[in-house]
Each structure stands twice: as structure tokens, then as C-alpha cells.
């Protein structure tokens, strides 16, 4: 694989795709050097700040109907703002690796919270530690009001344990099913009793609710508290294996390759769960650049939308359009389907979501029109003419703006149009698709066509 393809693959997986403009920034770099650039671009952690700290609970205290209604409206607005802010951030930031990993942790530590400031706080924890230490990330996520509330630990009290939190910490965050017993769940639930949060959204250990008695957990006995349980979980190599398995599916291939995953887990465990050395190991591993590991992952709806926004510098007058796209494509940020997160892979694709995916690029780039220069019969001519007439209507509804000038300016001089169009795709362009695109001579049309294909769904 030549150097450019390696860098392109790296950016597709470690970010949301390489842009024409990135070509000059990475020219002359090896893939390993480009990786260091990705790390340094992600050095700073720019936190999301769209929801005010005080979410207006004073309104609720008034306990009248009008105030409650106002509060609910405000909550909905905050939810929307938070979603839009993160989408916009992913679509414009230089810290792509950090956001890509934040998105991974967002799904790994799947959580829904009706209080947007809790959701924002959790999201920022995941962003701040996205490339840091997994143990610290796990501890902070476990102590976040959003997660404690979502997994009912506020109700976990001495004498009345609620096991939900303890179970999910093991099943979904660390060990995975089959690597602990029901007894371990019961005992660790006792250790987590008293973990909660106060009305300011801060973690609070409530000693009078805590069961300080002796517990036996994963073969160890002691008067464990919640921190002790998390430390024991991190001591298990299985935690490293579990995380690496999931990360491999996210970054490399949906089909796990045990040898590669075990090698990843060794690095992760040996480095005390530091995330950067693990990522460096993956992105510099020769197998990462194997043909079978390129252009074969189905983009999540968010990766698809963010990639499109970035490549064409799309801005939205009505950002809620992006929320509607998330809905019809089956992934609304902050609304995972359940505690296990979005299943991903082929689960993203059904008849309707695929048709939306094929149609959305032309909607935001060209008022819904995919110009067609093939041999169109009269019926098809009529179809295209109708779409052309509807362009202003679509534009008025979507209200997006693409930075075409910026795109054209950054396309390398001397590259032929078909090469430029195929740059937008991760899988190698088949001859059939190349022939299809060659029907037109207009670069803009060719690019719109390229991103309106099944190939564009892959990274």
C-alpha cells in the first residue's frame, strides 16, 4: 500500500476521513508521522459548553403547571443544543482523534440522561480522558451523576441493594458477560451502596447508606468500597481484553482476530491502561494496513454525517436538520438504544436507512439533485427535470451551505476528475463505478455522485 493510501486509511479510522486540504498538511509524512500529527492535533481537550450549569431547577420548585411546562421546553431545547453543539464540534475541530475516541466511549459507556447538564458533564469526562487513562475514565464515568442515575445507583442502599449499576459495570464496562458470577454482582453491589450525587451534580458518598461489611469479590475478601471494586476490575487482564476487542471492531475490523486483540491487550495492560500507547500500537501495526482491513467498516450515521460535513465544509442554517438525519438513520447522540449502546456494523443498514444515506448527500450539497449524464430515457429525463424544479424547495427546507470553493481550491492541481472523486471513497473504486462516474465531465456532479453510493458508506 502506498504512503498516501496509508495516510488516507489512517485518517478514515482515526478521524472522520482525509480532506483534500489535509493532503498538503500531510505531504511528505510517513503514516507514523501523520499519526503523531493526529495526536498533537488532539492534544488540547476543548470541552463542550452548551448547557448552563444551573438548569433552572428553581423553576420546578415553584411546582405550578406553567413553570413545569416551561422547564420541559427548556429541557428539550437544551437536549437539542447539546446534540447540535457536539455535531458541529466534530464537524469542525482539528482534534479528530480525540472526538473519534469520545464517540467510542460515548457508545461504550452508553447512557441516557434527561438532565442535559449531566449528559454534557459525562460527555466532557469522556472527551477529557478519551486519550488518557482508561482506569481514570472508568472511575470518573462511574461517579458521574448521569451514569449513577441511569443505572439506579442512587437507589442502591445498605440493606436494599440495587444491583443494576454493579452488574453493568462488569458486563458492559469491564469484563464482559461470563467473566464474573452472580455472587460477584451481589457483593460488588453492596460495595457501591452509598454512591450517589447531590443536587449540584457532584458525586457524593453517603456513608449512612453504605454497607461497610465484609465482601468477597472475584476471590478477594475485605471491607471493599466502590473504588476498591473498580481497582480489582482493572487488575483483571480480562478488562484489557474486553476493551481491546471492542476497540478492534471499532477501528480495524468487525471480525475479531484473537492474535491481534491479545497483542493489543498486552500493550494496554502493561501500560497500566494508558490509551495513547494502545492506539499507537494499533495504528502502527502492519496488519492495520492490510487490504482486508481497509474500506470495509460501515460508518455509523454520525461518522457518515460528520465526514460529509467535514469534507464539504457544510454549515446548517437550521442545525435541527442534522438531528432529523440522525433520527432517520438510527443514531441520535445521547440516545443510545439501551445500556449496551448501538450494535453497529450491518445493524445500521436496512432498506430505509440505506436509501436515506444515499439521498442525504445530494440533499445537503445540491438541493436534492443528482445530475445524471448517462443515457437517460424520457422517463428519467422527466425525473431529473422535476428534481431540478424542486431544488429551491429542498434548499429552503434543508438550508445547508457547502463550501464548494474551498473544496475546489484544495483539490490538487493536475489530478484528473475521476481521481478526485475516488479520493472521497475508502474502498477502491470498481471499474463499473468508474465508468458510471465518467459519464459526466463536471467535477461537482462527479463528487456528488461519488458520495451517493454504497461505497461511500464504508470507511
Amino acid at each position: 500500500m502506498d504512503n498516501l493510501r496509508q495516510i488516507k486509511h489512517l485518517y478514515a479510522r482515526a478521524g472522520f476521513g482525509l480532506r483534500f486540504a489535509d493532503l498538503s498538511a500531510t505531504s511528505g509524512l510517513s503514516a507514523a508521522q501523520a499519526l503523531e500529527k493526529l495526536f498533537s492535533d488532539s492534544e488540547a481537550s476543548e470541552l463542550i459548553d452548551s448547557v448552563p450549569e444551573d438548569a433552572g431547577y428553581s423553576m420546578l420548585a415553584r411546582n405550578d403547571k406553567a413553570a413545569r411546562k416551561q422547564f420541559m421546553q427548556m429541557q428539550r431545547r437544551e437536549e437539542r443544543d447539546l446534540n447540535e453543539t457536539w455535531m458541529a464540534h466534530m464537524s469542525t475541530t482539528d482534534a479528530v482523534l480525540r472526538e473519534k475516541m469520545t464517540l467510542f466511549w460515548h457508545n461504550h459507556f452508553a447512557c441516557r440522561s434527561r438532565q442535559s447538564q449531566f449528559a454534557q458533564q459525562l460527555n466532557n469526562i469522556q472527551r477529557q480522558h478519551a486519550l488518557g487513562n482508561f482506569g481514570e475514565l472508568l472511575m470518573q464515568v462511574s461517579k458521574s451523576p448521569a451514569m449513577l442515575q441511569f443505572l439506579n445507583n442512587q437507589q442502591n442502599r445498605k440493606g436494599h441493594p440495587n444491583e443494576n449499576f454493579a452488574r453493568e459495570v462488569m458486563e458492559l464496562f469491564t469484563l464482559g458477560r461470563g467473566n464474573y458470577t452472580e455472587h460477584d454482582v451481589k457483593e460488588s453491589a453492596r460495595a457501591f451502596t452509598g454512591w450517589g450525587f447531590n443536587k449540584d451534580g457532584e458525586f457524593a458518598m453517603r456513608p449512612f447508606l453504605h454497607d461497610s461489611g465484609e465482601k468477597t469479590f472475584l476471590g478477594h475478601t475485605g471491607n471493599f468500597n466502590g473504588e476498591d471494586i473498580i481497582r480489582h476490575l482493572l487488575q483483571q487482564k480480562q478488562t484489557a481484553i474486553f476493551i481491546c476487542n471492542k476497540l478492534y471492531k471499532y477501528l480495524v475490523n468487525e471480525t475479531p482476530e484473537p492474535a491481534h486483540i491479545n497483542a493489543m491487550a498486552d500493550v494496554f495492560y502493561k501500560n497500566n491502561y494508558e490509551i495513547k500507547p494502545l492506539l499507537r500500537f494499533v495504528f502502527t501495526a502492519p496488519w492495520f494496513y492490510d487490504e482486508k482491513n481497509t474500506g470495509n467498516l460501515i460508518k455509523s450515521p454520525v461518522e457518515f454525517l460528520v465526514g460529509l460535513n467535514r469534507q464539504f465544509y457544510i454549515t446548517y442554517q437550521r442545525p435541527e436538520v442534522l438531528l432529523q438525519f440522525q433520527k432517520v438513520l438510527g443514531q441520535v447522540l445521547f440516545y443510545p438504544p439501551n445500556v449496551a449502546g448501538w450494535p453497529g456494523g450491518r445493524n445500521w443498514i436496512d432498506s430505509s436507512s440505506l436509501m436515506y444515506r444515499l439521498k442525504i448527500p445530494s440533499l445537503v450539497l445540491n438541493g436534492g439533485l443528482i445530475d445524471f449524464s448517462g443515457k437517460a430515457d424520457p422517463e428519467e429525463e422527466a425525473y431529473i427535470a422535476a428534481n431540478r424544479n424542486r431544488q429551491p424547495v429542498v434548499d429552503a427546507r434543508v438550508q445547508s451551505h457547502a463550501g464548494w470553493e474551498r473544496v475546489f481550491k484544495s483539490v490538487p492541481a493536475g489530478e484528473n476528475k475521476l481521481q478526485s472523486a475516488s479520493f472521497l471513497l475508502e474502498p477502491a473504486m470498481s471499474k463499473t463505478l468508474a465508468d458510471e462516474l465518467s459519464n459526466t465531465t463536471d467535477l461537482k456532479t462527479m463528487m456528488i455522485q461519488a458520495v451517493s453510493t454504497p461505497e461511500y458508506q464504508l470507511c
Binding site: 449496551a340 443528482i370 425525473y383
Partner: protein, 398 residues
Amino acid sequence: MNRRNFIRKTALASGALMIPAFLKPFEAIAAGDITAYKNLVIIQLSGGNDGLNTIVPYGNDIYYQKRSTIAIGKSDVITLNNMQGLNPALSALKEIYEQGWMSIINGVGYPNPDRSHFRSMDIWQTASASNEFLTTGWIGRYLDSACTTCKNPYTAIEVDDTLSLAMKGAGIKGIAVEDPAKLYQTTREPFFKDLVSHHHDNLTEDNLGYLYKTMTETYSSAGYIQETSKTYEVSADYPATALGNQLRTVSKFINSGLQTRVYYVSLSGFDTHVGQQGQQGRQLKIYGDAVAAFIKDLKKTGQLDNTLVMTFSEFGRRVEQNASNGTDHGTANNILLFGGGLKKAGIYNDAPDLAQLDNGDLRYTTDFRDVYATLLDKWLDVTSQGILGKGFKPLSFI
């Protein structure tokens, strides 16, 4: 050969079923072709419909004690037997019930019930246990089961613009069709047509192959659904509501002889924490009027015996009302069934026991997967065990 003919002969040929529809689009389908098709129509009530104010236990004093301001008054209830009756907003269903086309299963739920809307809906749609997370739906796994009649996405149609988890299998997924003409139009984008027609012989097992396969199937399914159904006009009157329109579309599909076995529609607005009577009454009226119109329509067209309608919600609500004249999230609930082929019409089992509660909630007496097993084994003619993961006890309503 011009391009259109080329497409017909290649891409579209993948659905051999489509050719007759194309060759003789205006020819009525022989009655014999379609009577063998048994249809299941699933109606999902989203938000947690309060079953106790739907099928009202008016004969039980506890009901009136626990719901001092939101109970349905005895004189308003449409009595079915000396214990239960219909909410008056369901008056349109009285006639349907009397004809023996309706059956009510009380107390349907599952162990360790979850009171979260989305989690409990997940459980109902995937037919999982409450501590199990499945990524495929129960209808989706029916499609995956490779029964002879479920090779195509249009075997299961959701009349909506997106597809529910219930309809997604690992290998085969149903298809969402809100408006067949619109779906047809979208797929006929000339550029897409070209992609489909050139890639038909290029289907590999990898993700790219899967994407092209899905695109091609969508293309031919959209064609099949549109061509098969476009000439059939529903003559019956339906209420002008979203659910009424959806059921009219289902009627169009059934009566035009679409080779579909499962239809899925939903109605939301049942999360009645506040001011329940007005809110639930409005939604139940939308529901009852639309279902009554649908059942009468199918009776007239001779399809009622081949159709079974099942209505469920993700949970029922607490027995005792709350302080805002509403009810909070609860557990067990009733399932309503309609059709011409019910073996046991009327009230199928005992009304819920309001005296023996579990922390203020109804105890379930029938597992919802027993109901699913019945539908799979006795109506869709497959073996439920593989689809539901283990054996459940089929009931005797069909």
C-alpha cells in the same frame, strides 16, 4: 435493447416474482393466489398504554378505590362481561367484539419488568429476557428463519418511514414503507437505477456486497410493492387519522395480494402521567375507530379470516393513580387481538388480580413470549423455539 428493458431483465429479474406484475400490471390477481396468505398485523401503542382504563375492571371495587378521580364510571363502561368492559372511547369496537372478532388476553408481561419506556420496548421488540440485550427483533428472526415465505424484505412491512428493531434480523430485515409511491420514486433516481443495474452480478459477501444487495432488494421490493398495489383502491371509509391512513395502506397491501406476512404500525401518545382521561380517551378513540374500520373493511373484502391483528404496549401503568390525575409506569398489561379466525373470542383469561399486587403493580399471568410463540407456531407456521431462543407455551386463541 433499450436501457429500461435491460434493467427489467437484469436487476429486476432477481425478484422473479416481479415479472408477472410487470407484464400484466392491470390484471386482477386471482383470488386463489392470495387466500392462502395469512397476515399478521401488529399495532404498537407507544408510551405505555394504561390497560386498566382500556379494558376496565368495573366489577372490582379496588379499581374505584385506587383511582378516585380517573376511573371510568360504571355507567360509562361498555360492558363485556360482569367484570370487564371497554373504555367508552372504544365504542367502535363494541360491534367488532360482539361479532366474535376480538379477543382480550389479560395480565401479559415478563419477569423482572423494566419501567423504562425504551428498555421495555426493546424487550418487547426483541423478545428478550429483561436482563438480556438482543440486537435483532423477533420478526427479524422470523425472517432469518428461512421459512419458505420469508426470503424478501417485503415479507414484513412497517408502514412508517423508519424500521423498528422488531423488524430487523441478522441476515434479512423488513422494509419500511410509509407511502409506496414515494419509496418507488426515491429508488428510481436515475443514478441509483444505474448503480443497481450494473452491480447485480457483482454481489460479494463483504460489507460492500451487503450494501449493494440491500440496495438491489430495496429497488426490487419498492417496484414489487408499487406495481402490485397501485391499482387496488380501498373503497371502505377510514377515519382521517395517521393510524387510519396506515391501516388503510395495510388494507391496500393485503387486498392487492402482496406476498407479505407481517405488517407493523404504531400509535404514540399513551404516556399519561398527567390528566389521563382526556389524553388517553383521545388516543383510544383514534385507535378504536381505525381498527374497527380496518376489521370491517377486511370482512367485506373477504380477508378477515386470513388476518390477525395484535395490539401491545411496552407496559401497563400502576394500579393506583398519581397526584396529577394520571398514572405512572407499571408492568403487566392486556393484549388485544382481532381477526376472523379466533378460536377463543372474547375475554381469554381472568381479569387482573387487583388485590395481590407486587409493590403496587400487577403481576403478570401470561408471558408475552407465550403470545409470540402462538403467533409464530400457529399463524406464521414456523417453529417458535429457534426464534425465541427457548420453548414457550403456545396459547389457544387461534
